[in-house]
């Protein structure tokens, strides 16, 4: 499958790492603090001893000072699971630019995750649900077909339950019917951070007018015949803006973010500008 520029992905990820959310993470033992308590040396809290607690975690100094059994609670050091969800429905391939940018963005996010010391898992949602991780991840992205006949929303309901993870990144155009808050709630469940990356074709944002056209839906094949008058285009723009606003509001409600990119811009440009909020330059530290 063409449209995946591996070199461009590597260039765009060079010197960058994912900006992780401040909240606690879940994942394998690693370098990132987890939401669960564990055996990390970093003190997390104190509490009274309850039968069954590990006696090794008693703070004997506190016992000596207070005469009460005080337990030292420490936080685990985890390596958070990163899920990158890519919408593989046919609407993601209405143009070569859109398909290429979607693949590159998913690959870019995976590379960034690795550079951040995390283990990314690629979840393909659209056709048959697939997952990929490890060294097969980028080759999978290069060959995945964006031809799913179901919308991202309906495919998500058929997909296996999403596992709890530290960060969930979703690459889709989010152009399907359905209640955005329901979809976003499902995506935000079991994760510390959610970022929605909306990839749009130029025609999605600002369709060209002209005479009549037979408009065919990329996924279900239904069609409409319309005269693309300025009035109709204005109406489309209005409804498009309202639709995006719904997704934006839904993302904010779960403390997530929605980043909109247009496929006509290169991945490098997107990494520097539209998607800058997702990354931090290596060595610069967290803002």
């Amino acid at each position: 499958m063409s449209g995946f520029d591996h070199a461009a992905v590597q260039r765009a990820a060079e010197g960058r790492r994912l900006r992780l959310p401040r909240g606690p993470h879940r994942g394998k033992l690693g370098e990132v603090r987890a939401a669960s308590v564990g055996s990390s040396m970093e003190l997390h809290d104190f509490r009274s001893y309850h039968p069954g607690d590990d006696l090794r975690h008693l703070d004997w100094n506190a016992v000596a000072r207070t005469g009460e059994l005080v337990l030292r609670v420490r936080q685990d050091e985890v390596s958070p699971r990163i899920e990158v969800l890519l919408d593989t429905s046919a609407s993601m391939a209405v143009s070569e630019a859109k398909a290429a940018r979607a693949r590159e963005l998913a690959g870019w996010l995976c590379v960034l995750a690795r550079q951040t010391g995390l283990e990314p898992v690629l979840v393909l949602v659209g056709g048959a649900p697939r997952q990929s991780s490890g060294p097969n991840l980028l080759p999978t992205l290069a060959t995945v077909a964006l031809d799913g006949k179901a919308s991202f929303s309906s495919a998500l309901t058929r997909a296996p339950a999403l596992r709890p993870c530290g960060l969930r990144l979703v690459v889709s155009d989010f152009l399907f019917e359905g209640e955005p808050s329901v979809v976003v709630d499902r995506l935000a469940r079991g994760t510390s951070g959610l970022a929605l990356v909306q990839v749009l074709d130029a025609e999605d944002v600002e369709p060209s007018g002209g005479s009549g056209a037979r408009l065919t839906d990329a996924e279900d094949g239904t069609h409409l015949e319309r005269l693309l008058t300025p009035d109709l285009l204005a109406l489309y723009a209005e409804r498009f803006t309202a639709h995006v606003g719904l997704w934006l509001a839904a993302a904010k409600r779960v403390r997530g973010s929605l980043l909109q990119v247009v496929a006509t811009r290169s991945l490098g440009q997107l990494a520097r500008e539209e998607l800058a909020a997702l990354v931090e330059v290596a060595g610069a530290g967290a803002p």
């Binding site: 152009l175 005479s211 990329a218 069609h223 015949e225 005269l227 109709l232």
Partner: protein, 572 residues
């Protein structure tokens, strides 16, 4: 299902054009979009959903195709069910008087009625057009009248036309057919004249029978001084010699019988006089055609003409006119005269005299040909002394001198010095004045001739500012249009006709059912001539009126299509 106009099926050729246009229209530039729901109008989605839009164009094609189909059905004059099996049958019946001749208990007209009813059954007639032949063909039933009503109209039919050419009726019937080549059925009782042209579509059949007949060929009545003289001509149309009793009857008087012996084909004149002013009935013994064996003649006295003389009329001229008035029948001298004689320059209807220098003329005289004043007037040996020309249209002239002239108002000027002429002493004088009297009598409103033969033109005199109507037997009405001396075409029915002025009877006339050509039944007989043209397909179903329901369905489909396409084009 049958078609009255199969050529209308050619309209189906519009279907391929429509389908081609549909596929051309489908070639609008396709565009794959990510979010079709953003383009869809909410109302459409709510009402019909995506499937509605998906098939809107196909539905439009379906509706338009059906509209074409129903338009084709209309153009092809489609008929469904049993009604379609019925035909339009066009029939011409001979309206001649001889059709009434009864032989072996039934007349030809009755046999025609039976034959037409059978024809309607055999041909599965749904509607019929029945035309009666005559000097003027008339439509007895139709055009395209329901069979029952058409046969009922034929049942009331009673032929009484004079001998005539049936070509006009056949041409009229041919024009009444539903399609070219449709068969026309013609029923008569005798042979057609050789000069008659029968169209190839006509199937002719004679139901006549040979019969002997003795008939009155003509009848006249002359009334004068309370005495009536009746003259009839009797003809023997049989193969043997006949002694025929001719009966004359008057109202309130004893009948008078005359016997004549007639050889086959011979005729004889019988005359009888009566002291009566009532109608006189002349009758022969009943035979095959009773109608031509009995006539009733109305009194026909000459109309009284009142004559007057104006002051200043030359004595010689007045004397010459008075001598004529004294001997002319039904003429009376009176002060309230309708015919006045006066000197030149007077207001008389006829001026008599010469002014200025007079000159005598012995001929040749030039008269206006055909003018009734000079009917039968012989001017040979006449010395006509005239003066200066009188105004008006010249009727008689000699060189530059106008001897008789007539103004537009009908005033006659006789440029004649009676004292110096010999006109009043020649035979031309009473004839000339007789013609003047006849003109005056003809200007009297009414009927100049009260006994008319069948098929004879009707002469009438009417006045302006009144509605004149001829009311026939059975209340049949015929308006009289025109003022003055009017000649009407033959009346359609024998019998007594009353002339009414503004609803009041003024005069009457009698159309006698006499026509020698119709009375001769010796050549009648059955025969049949089949149509030479094959019946056309269209004639099989052309009888029923064109069905309009396909048009209504087509309009409904067009409206539905308009509604569908209008919705599809509406952007929001």
């Amino acid at each position: 299902m049958t078609f009255g106009a199969p050529w209308g099926l050619l309209a189906l050729l519009a279907l391929p054009v429509l389908v081609a246009a549909y596929f051309l229209r489908r070639k609008q530039p396709p565009r794959v979009v990510s979010a079709l729901f953003l383009w869809r109008t909410p109302d459409l989605k709510a009402e019909a959903g995506p499937r509605f839009e998906r098939f809107s164009r196909e539905r439009s094609l379906l509706l338009e195709s059906l509209a074409v189909l129903f338009a084709t059905l209309f153009l092809a004059d489609v008929h469904c069910g049993q009604r379609t099996q019925r035909q339009h049958v066009v029939v011409v019946v001979d309206g001649g008087l001889s059709m009434r001749a009864k032989v072996d208990g039934s007349s030809a007209a009755e046999r025609v009625k039976t034959a037409v009813a059978a024809l309607a059954r055999d041909e599965h007639a749904g509607v019929m057009t029945i035309i009666e032949s005559g000097p003027r063909p008339t439509m007895l039933a139709g055009p395209q009248l329901e069979v029952d009503r058409a046969l009922a109209a034929l049942e009331a039919w009673s032929p009484a036309q004079p001998a005539h050419d049936v070509t006009a009726a056949l041409v009229m019937a041919k024009g009444s057919t539903s399609s070219t080549g449709q068969r026309v059925f013609f029923f008569t009782d005798g042979p057609l004249p050789e000069a008659t042209t029968v169209p190839a579509e006509v199937q002719a059949r004679s139901v006549g029978r040979v019969a002997d007949n003795v008939a009155l060929l003509s009848a006249q009545r002359h009334d004068e001084g309370g005495a009536a003289t009746v003259t009839v001509r009797v003809g023997n149309f049989s193969e043997r010699s006949r002694e025929v009793p001719v009966t004359f009857e008057t109202r309130g008087d004893a009948s008078h019988l005359e016997r004549v012996t007639l050889e086959p084909g011979a005729t004889a004149v019988v005359r009888a006089g009566f002291k009566t002013t009532t109608p006189v009935t002349v009758s022969l013994p009943d035979d095959a055609l009773t109608e031509d064996g009995q006539v009733t003649l109305l009194p026909s006295p000459l109309a009284l003409v009142k004559v007057g003389f104006l002051e200043g009329l030359d004595a010689a001229a007045k004397s010459a006119v008075e001598r004529f008035v004294a001997i002319a029948p039904s003429v009376q001298e009176a002060t309230d005269a309708q015919l006045t004689f006066g000197p030149v320059g007077s207001t008389a209807r006829v001026t008599l005299g010469a002014t200025g220098a007079t000159h005598g003329f012995v001929g040749p005289f030039f008269s206006l040909k055909g003018h009734p004043v000079f009917d039968d007037v012989q001017l040979g040996g006449v010395v006509w002394t005239a003066g200066d020309n009188q105004p008006g249209r010249p009727l008689l002239s000699m060189g530059q001198t106008v001897l008789v002239s007539e103004t537009d108002e009908g005033v006659l000027h006789f440029n004649l010095d009676v004292a110096k002429s010999n006109v009043q002493r020649t035979v031309a004088w009473p004839v000339l004045l007789g013609n003047v009297l006849r003109l005056a009598r003809a200007s009297t409103p009414g009927v100049p001739r009260r006994q008319l033969m069948l098929g004879e033109d009707v002469a009438l005199v009417t006045t302006p500012d009144a509605k004149w109507v001829l009311r026939g037997p059975g209340g049949r009405e015929r308006p009289v249009l025109g003022v003055g001396a009017v000649t009407l075409p033959p009346l359609p029915e024998p019998g007594r006709w009353v002339l009414e002025k503004n609803g009041t009877a003024v005069d009457e006339l009698l159309v006698l059912p006499l026509d020698p050509r119709e009375s001769d039944l010796r050549t009648r007989g059955p025969w049949q001539v089949d149509a030479t043209a094959a019946p056309s397909l269209a004639s099989l179903a052309g009888g029923a009126p064109r069905a309009w329901w396909p048009v209504l369905v087509m309009l409904a489909l067009v409206l539905a299509d308009f509604w569908l396409t209008a919705r599809a084009r509406r952007p929001v």
